[in-house]
């Protein structure tokens, strides 16, 4: 169960995708705060400023195709720093390049999901992600 104090941070530059993700997470019954950032820079600043706040836990949904910084760099940076390395990061992006996937897992992402275009609809997939989120355990961040 997602702790109610958990904030879902979404770094996604496409507004359409962002809204779809948000809607469907809500449809899955998740009522946690969702903060979305359209640029890597703004998302990163928030992460770095707030991660070390006590009793604060963050779940990050990260798109790789950002306008300013590469999502990969954000992933690497967050996993490198002690105060943010435990934050669960779910990569949610259009790329399904095998090397990209391997690289993300090498850098420490927790899950890599490709945004589907298939008939089954994006919404369904995100709803399932939402359901997944309801059953997953999140770690305590380093104090």
């Amino acid at each position: 169960m997602l702790p109610s104090a958990m904030t879902i941070v979404m770094i996604e530059d496409d507004e359409g995708h962002g809204r779809l993700i948000e809607k469907n997470i809500r449809r899955a019954g998740i009522n946690n705060e969702i903060l979305s950032f359209k640029t890597g820079e703004s998302g990163m600043s928030y992460m770095l400023a707030n991660a070390s706040r006590p009793a604060k836990s963050i779940l990050l949904l990260l798109d790789l195709n950002l306008p300013d910084i590469s999502g990969i760099d954000i992933l690497a940076e967050l996993k490198k720093r002690k105060e943010t390395s435990r934050i669960p990061i779910i990569i949610l992006t259009t790329t399904d390049d095998r090397e990209e996937v391997s690289r993300c897992y090498d850098l420490g992402c927790n899950v890599y999901l490709t945004k589907p275009v298939a008939f089954d609809s994006f919404a369904q997939a995100v709803r399932q992600l939402g359901l997944f989120l309801t059953i997953m355990q999140v770690p305590e961040l380093a104090k």
Partner: protein, 496 residues
């Protein structure tokens, strides 16, 4: 890019050895030959002159000797006549003995000389007479002493004969002296000429040598310069080729990167279209639910609502199908782009094994269509495994896919090896391809014939790209209604 430096035909033609000096050399050689001929002539002439000079000197010596002998004889006689002592007669006796041989010597030397012969033949009797006179006077003295010999002497006959003798000898000597002078002059002139010729020959030889050496040097310099230029031009060309190859490779990689990026940028809006078509669907459902309330919608409008709902369904369905199709196309483009980027590695491939495993993969389709798939004897080739598998899977699958259900399907695979190249032929008796379509089938997204089977039409474009990367080529022969043959020519050993 800068123009490539190269050698023109006029550059190359100056490499020929310079001919213009050939004439000069020839002239010099002729002159040399003349000099040598002249020298030989002079030497021979001098040899003859030399012998003639010696002969002249011999004649002079012989004439002198004869005169000396006769004078000795005379002085012997005089001594004897004066003293009456026998010892004074010795010179006479000795000389007289030698006179005949001296005379014959002289005569012998005169063989070639008619003038001398004349003189000698005049000399002979005079000599004899004088000798007789000497003997007579001596004999007279021996008989009667000085009173017997003196009157003979006083006749002056002896004196006159000696004078004659002396004059004759002098004549001979003078003649010979003149001849000697002439011959010596000639000899000297010849020698001088010879020296001059020698000097001329030396000069001519040096001149010829100088010309030849200079020509050779110039020729060698031209060759060296040309060789240097060739090396530079070669290096230049190689650099140009390397540069252009690198540029081409970069351009190719760029194109592939664009294809890669484009497909991703195309996917993002598709996600939105698909997602929001889903949202619209949800909204429609909620509105529909709301309108189920009879309080809101009168009974008579329900039919219209139902039809509107159907219209909505139809519209949404077309939207979703199009999105699906576009998604598949983008995936296919991505596959093409990705294959172009992958590094190829060559390995030894048993083509029989590869075709048999393709056959096994297609087993289901083959048996569904009750067709036959025959793999003939196959060679080994050296190439990238994945590319080869993709190429022949694709072609084989097409062959099975497009079999005509109205007749038993046969697909046969055969190969011919010719050293550097191996040709694979996959023949089927399916629908065949119309002639006007034969070019199109290799274009991406183009298909030909009845579209009875699902597919994007990406396969053969991908196949052709792979075949090209392997350094081979692919062609298709077909008869509409009878079947097709796909002919893939590949290098037997790929260096990629």
């Amino acid at each position: 890019m800068a123009p490539i430096e190269h050698m023109t035909m006029s550059d190359i033609s100056t490499l020929e050895s310079p001919r213009k000096h050939g004439w000069i050399i020839l002239a010099i050689v002729l002159l040399l030959l003349l000099s040598v001929a002249g020298a030989v002539f002079l030497i021979i002439d001098n040899r003859q002159s030399g012998s003639a000079i010696i002969r002249t000197q011999n004649v002079q010596a012989a004439a002198f000797r004869l005169l000396a002998l006769m004078q000795q004889a005379e002085s012997g006689q005089r001594g004897y006549l004066l003293t009456g002592k026998d010892q004074y007669l010795e010179p006479f006796t000795r000389s007289v003995e030698l006179v005949p041989s001296a005379l014959s010597d002289l005569a012998g030397l005169a063989e070639d000389d008619p003038a001398l012969q004349q003189d000698v033949s005049a000399l002979s009797p005079v000599t004899r007479k004088k000798l007789e006179e000497l003997r007579a006077t001596i004999a007279a003295f021996k008989r009667g002493g000085p009173s017997a010999s003196l009157p003979m002497v006083l006749t002056d006959e002896g004196q006159r004969e000696m004078e004659q003798l002396r004059a004759l000898v002098q004549k001979i000597l003078d003649d010979q002296r003149i001849k000697l002078a002439q011959r010596t002059d000639r000899w000297r002139i010849n020698s001088d000429l010879l020296i001059s010729l020698g000097a001329i020959t030396l000069l001519l030889t040096m001149l010829a040598a100088a010309i030849i050496i200079r020509d050779q040097r110039r020729h060698a310099a031209i060759l060296d310069a040309t060789r240097e230029r060739l090396i530079t031009v070669n290096a230049d060309l190689e650099k140009h080729v390397a540069d252009r190859t690198a540029a081409l490779r970069e351009a190719n990689e760029e194109i592939q990167r664009y294809a890669h990026i484009a497909s991703h940028d195309l996917r993002a809006p598709l996600v939105n279209i698909m997602g929001y078509s889903g949202e619209i669907d949800l909204v429609r459902k909620e509105v529909l639910d709301m309108l189920q309330n009879p309080a809101i919608l009168p009974e008579e409008s329900r039919e219209k609502l139902a039809r509107l709902n159907e219209d909505f369904d139809e519209a949404l369905s077309f939207i979703r199908q199009s999105i699906d199709k576009m998604n598949r196309l983008i995936n296919a483009l991505l596959t093409l782009a990705r294959s172009g980027q992958r590094e190829f590695r060559s390995e030894d491939l048993d083509m029989a094994a590869i075709f048999n495993s393709i056959k096994a993969t297609l087993h289901h389709q083959i048996s569904t269509k009750a067709a036959s798939f025959v793999v003939g004897p196959m060679p080994h080739i050296n190439a990238d495994r994945l590319a080869i598998e993709q190429i022949f899977s694709n072609i084989s699958e097409n062959a099975i896919k497009y079999l005509d259900p109205n007749r038993p399907g046969n697909v046969s695979v055969s190969a011919q090896s010719s050293g550097t190249e191996t040709i694979f032929i996959i023949a089927d008796n399916g629908y065949g391809i119309a002639e006007r379509d034969l070019g199109r089938i290799f274009d991406p997204f183009r298909r030909a014939g009845p579209q009875t089977e699902p597919g994007e039409g990406i396969g053969l474009a991908h196949v052709r790209m792979l075949v090209r990367r392997l350094g081979g080529k692919i062609t298709c022969e077909s008869t509409l209604g009878a079947g097709s043959r796909f002919i893939v020519t590949l290098p037997t050993s790929s260096n990629k």
